[in-house]
């Protein structure tokens, strides 16, 4: 049966919301594929037309202004159709679900190159936290506003019977997971996430249009920029999971409500470029109007982008801090709710990550005994 318009539309933004049956149907139904394409085109048009950077607000000044208005007895307009306030239902299961994916998000984003929008600009040997909001992520996802993205990611997930098989499939040594805290589900699942090559080619016409939409103009371009291509080779990743099946998550399965732990290892992505260097292209893109100012300044502050992975940290909940994992530089991502955390580090050309519904000390303990 064809899924409803509402279900199809939501699947564009939140793919996990559609059940496996719907996804399988859409994948094989020409009519639904056409509907989806039409919806996607409409959504892209609307997004482009409504695109504008979020206003930079000074909350303290705004609060003073509000206090002044109240003191002056200024009348407020009444927003129409505003609903009366009512108690909110408890969402305990969503709490657990949100936290369970918290660590996974960062791990998958880093280790699989899922956030091609971030990684495609950098050749990483160091790690640094970039606090991002949902709006920032969407803005960076708009790389297609500045050029064409090709070659991926057509990423495949393959379950493997054991660590050795996963390691052989990924072409790296499988990490030997260290001391697990009591309560960790004992049965580990092994898998490999395939890699691939993602290429971004800069297009001045597209970038100019994006700059205009953002209310600015395209800065002067360095020589050789037009048509420059940046290629990122993303290596396969070994995934070892406890208490959660990443494949099931990716295909709409339920999120765990108990202890969950994921360990990932992948060679660092490699970046090559034609035309201009990766650094030049990154510098230029960060200067184009429309890139969130906060993200741009954070990325610039990191330093040489050819040496550093900017790890996106959700600004609302998580905090990032640098740590040492047996002498190797790492990044600890703590969920401020205290219910989940992750650590990412790089050693000998391999990026490792440990994430779970654990405390920061627990993930650090696992990381420091993993080799």
């Amino acid at each position: 049966m064809h899924p409803s318009d509402g279900t199809l539309r939501r699947s564009l933004d939140e793919p996990l919301a559609a059940d496996a049956t719907s996804r399988a149907h859409v994948a094989s139904c020409a009519r639904c594929a056409e509907r989806l394409q039409r919806m996607s085109a409409d959504a892209a048009t609307v997004q482009a037309m409504l695109a504008s950077s979020d206003p930079v607000v000074d909350v303290a000044a705004a609060r003073s202004r509000l206090a002044g208005s109240e003191a002056a007895g200024a009348g407020a307009t009444t927003p129409r159709s505003a609903k009366p306030l009512r108690p909110r239902n408890a969402r305990t299961s969503r709490v657990l679900a949100g936290v369970a994916v918290a660590g996974l998000a960062s791990v998958l984003l880093v280790a699989t190159g899922a956030a091609q929008d971030f990684l495609s600009l950098f050749s990483p040997t160091q790690l640094a936290a970039v606090p991002v909001t949902a709006a920032d992520v969407r803005s960076l996802a708009g790389l297609t506003s500045y050029g064409t993205v090709s070659g991926g990611p057509k990423i495949a997930y393959q379950a493997e019977p054991d660590a050795a098989a996963a390691a052989a499939a990924a072409g790296i040594s499988a990490p030997v997971v260290g001391d697990l805290p009591a309560g960790t589900p004992p049965a580990a699942k092994f898998a490999v996430i395939s890699g691939g090559v993602v290429a971004f080619t800069f297009n001045a016409d597209l970038a100019r249009a994006a700059a205009v939409r953002a209310g600015g103009q395209l800065p002067a371009m360095p020589a050789g920029l037009e048509g420059s291509t940046l290629s990122v080779l993303i290596s396969p990743a070994v995934v070892i999971s406890y208490g959660v099946d990443p494949a099931a998550l990716l295909h709409g399965g339920t999120l765990p409500t108990g202890e969950a732990l994921v360990v990932v290892a992948s060679r660092v992505p490699m970046v090559t470029s034609t035309g201009v260097t990766a650094r030049q292209l990154e510098d230029y893109l960060l200067s184009v109007p429309g890139i969130p100012a906060g993200v741009a300044s954070e990325v610039r502050a990191i330093g040489d982008p050819s040496q550093t992975i900017p790890v996106p940290i959700p600004v609302d909940l998580a905090t990032g801090s640098t740590v040492s994992i047996n002498g190797a530089p790492g990044l600890l991502i703590g969920d401020s709710t205290g219910l989940g955390s992750a650590v990412v580090w790089q050693h000998n050309g391999v990026v490792y990550a440990v994430a779970g519904t654990l405390t920061s000390n627990q993930v650090l303990g696992i990381a420091r005994t993993t080799h």
């Binding site: 509402g6 959504a43 206003p55 998000a105």
Partner: protein, 189 residues
């Protein structure tokens, strides 16, 4: 081997999902905390409708003034949904008022548009005008959901703000996008 091509969307969904205090039970209850946590979002929603950051902040101020007038220092957990919807409605009120005023002014206008703007700025201004005009013409429920969606709310947050089921959000959003696109025409932007 199971293949999937939605990894970037998946990653973003996870990232946006964990960026939502709404989903982890962290809800502000005091007015001050709500103001600190939601003021920027309310201004962002208004900006999607108005295009202008200063006008958007004016709307944000109105919304919080009204909230405080109605509910005092302890507006309750549902206040987040309330201020977000109110931001969209208040901003739409502004452009509808502007549209009526613009029609009146156009009737008496004699001057040509300023000629000093570079072409790009002129095009941007035209796009901005077309977007505001379209938002003012389409049904309010459609304009509201577009403002909420494109200022970054998740489907769960939109469902909460609009008081509808999460499944109905997709349906309404789809209709709103189709209607909006029809209003602005199919010209590439």
């Amino acid at each position: 081997m199971v293949e999937f091509s939605a990894i970037p969307a998946f990653g973003r969904q996870l990232l946006t999902g964990i960026s939502r205090p709404a989903e982890v039970g962290v809800r502000p209850t005091s007015f001050d905390r709500l103001f600190d946590e939601e003021y920027a979002k309310v201004a962002a929603i208004a900006r999607r409708v108005l295009g202008d950051p200063d006008a958007a902040e004016d709307v944000a101020q109105e919304v919080f003034l009204d909230l405080h007038r109605r509910f005092g220092d302890s507006p309750g957990a549902q206040a987040v949904a309330w201020v977000r919807t109110a931001a969209a409605h208040a901003a739409l009120n502004v452009i509808r008022g502007n549209r009526r005023r613009a029609v009146r002014e156009e009737r008496y206008a004699t001057d040509s548009p300023p000629a000093y703007d570079p072409q790009a700025a002129v095009e941007a201004a035209e796009t901005t005008r077309a977007v505001r005009a379209a938002l003012a013409r389409i049904p309010e429920r459609h304009a509201t959901i577009l403002a909420l969606r494109y200022s970054g709310l998740s489907y769960a947050e939109m469902a909460s703000a609009l008081g509808i089921g999460v499944n109905a959000v997709g349906t309404r959003l789809r209709r709103a996008e189709a209607r909006f696109r029809k209003e602005v025409g199919d010209a590439p932007v």
